[in-house]
Symmetry: C3
Subunit: 266 residues, 3 copies
């Protein structure tokens, strides 16, 4: 059998030993796993950001990947832990919506809550990633579903990524993420809005954040415009991105996740 | 045989290629290893911090894990490299105490020094992690102990984590670590001090750093107190932590590793 | 067969999900790969820095390692993707020189361009790392060279690391890298300049950046000089490094990659 893959997405950061302990817990149960870090740099406790980053990335993983997703401000309270079997994947996460947009898109087939009482925690009640979710993910990788109790999928906490507002010749979008290159990733997917945007390629549009306004050419690739110019394009994320060629749009504009951005054309 | 796990803990950071070269050296000797990063963000040359982070995390790894621990201000001098076989694990490290608290707790069974003269260094004498310790860890994973010379365990450099001072209704503690969430981890373990602290759960205690004083409820989980309140609780580390619910105690208080903190109750 | 190793070097950073998606793409084609992160912290779009870090590190990897190197300001333009088979390794990268110094040193045996038209991109044209280079690296690991078209090696973009200028009793060097410890790594290799430098070990030399001047002892290891003194030595990189013992030369001097540094002796 092919080695089973576990993809990790957390807000643990990479300074502490938490990610290492998570992997230790996984490998203690199933030493044959292949573990892939998606990111551990979700802003602490930011469920929406975690949900979006998972939504962007999960689709590129091989079938049967198990996603272990921990952004969990409610750790130790009575919020449930859940395991979602979808068309192609498994998602193990707290029931706060962080895995919902990805799992929903892939079509949820079975919904389980985790019987936490049968797992031992170490120290206090604050590290369910290591003590609850990792053991469950490892057990799923070995076909052991004993700790899972099937529940009504309608009882899940549902989280939806914000939708853009479409006006005539204008989109009011939200910045969902600012990446390492300073690109602002908007909540405008090619899948849903390609019919509006694709025909504008080559043209120049207006982009504004608060009172700052930029002229941006809509291009197919960074190399289609000169260095240091503002451009808009479909990123490898599948979402519309606003960028500076070989520069940082975030540095130039002060763009941050959560900010509104208006895109206007003629 | 199950794939052998090597856990890495260093002060190399993740900007440079050093960690990659360490892994290259391990895999050159044993391509079947599973390598787990514990952390590479120990403050440069900070042996005590490295020792504490290893002490927190080693216990969660599977039996037979080999820990490769490099915080090594004395690299290239005549400080020895050592390999410690303990009850469940191996530790490979410079003989400066960085692996001592963890290895001591797990019970040291055999103590070896590394015959460095039989390993080739590349460039100068500054990268023993890659050129000495990684090859030795890989050789141990394959049962080859030829480069190890048994020595008197009493000759090891012993490093002890600082102990808190216990007064009547008061503990004078030291902050051993500040984590990604801004939690201050104190040198007060549940194992040693649970009998003092556990009976205070639900009550409010005084917490002070220098002249700053906070009222903190002692809780079982973050969710037991309102957002932005200061709490104290047993962390997943097994040590007492002072936190702000969905916030950062370090940002609020200026807490840093090494600072003293007083905890008082009535 | 031993598990095949893929070494990754990019400017993607570790905040985003890009590295995770790269690994997902690799494992989708070949789930048996062992993936090693060399670094993802190359300064965005800095081809020279990427080339140097690859040049420093590639040599420590096992024979048959495939290097996947993506620093790619020209993504989506008509710059080619290339795959270089060398004496011991494979290099997969954009044809902008980033893999050239390493591949050239290891001796290029076969030179291929990638037929990108036969690979599907997701979203826009901006993530060739995931959509083009990773699939090709995975296919090479399985012996599938169908997407590779042999080309004239003379048509490759050649990039050369800058050479130092040697005067009488003086070297004008360039800082190629500043590492996690604040060491300044110069473009002065032991291989090429050992005959000039080795005989100075133990002596004190002059080191200057702009108007700042330091006296530095040339030592074999950090431990040969007192704490906080400036030293010069052959680093584990194989290049001359200027350091502060248990401190940071970069913090003291303001040294940054690309700066010129003069070394003078008597």
């Amino acid at each position: 059998m092919a080695r089973r893959i576990v993809g990790l997405l957390t807000d643990y950061g990479v300074i502490d030993t938490y990610v290492g302990e998570l992997k230790a817990a996984l490998l203690s149960r199933n030493p044959e796993l292949t573990i892939v870090d998606i990111t551990h740099s979700v802003s602490p406790f930011n469920i929406l950001e975690g949900a979006f980053l998972l939504y962007l990335s999960y689709r590129h993983f091989p079938v049967d990947t198990i996603f272990l997703v921990v952004v969990d401000p409610g750790v130790g309270t009575d919020r449930r832990g859940v395991a979602l079997k979808t068309d192609r994947y498994w998602f193990v996460a707290p029931d706060n919506g962080v895995a919902y947009p990805a799992a929903y898109e892939d079509r949820i087939i079975s919904t389980y809550m985790i019987d936490q009482s049968r797992l031992r925690t170490y120290g206090g009640e604050t590290f369910h990633g290591r003590d609850i979710f990792a053991p469950v993910a490892a057990m799923i990788s070995m076909g052991e579903l004993d700790l899972l109790i099937e529940i009504d999928p309608n009882s899940l906490v549902k989280l939806q990524l914000p939708s853009p507002i479409i006006n005539k010749n204008e989109i009011e979008a939200t910045i969902l993420h600012v990446d390492n290159f300073g690109n602002a990733v908007l909540n405008v997917s090619r899948k849903s809005f390609g019919h509006l945007i694709d025909r504008l390629v080559g043209e120049t549009i207006d982009v504004s954040i608060g009172r700052r306004r930029y002229r941006a050419r809509l291009v197919e690739a960074y190399g289609d415009e000169k260095r240091s110019r503002v451009v808009a394009l479909w990123g490898g994320t599948g979402f519309l991105e606003v960028s500076v060629v070989e520069g940082s749009f975030a540095k130039r504009s002060g763009a941050k996740p959560g900010m509104r951005m208006k895109i206007r054309w003629h």
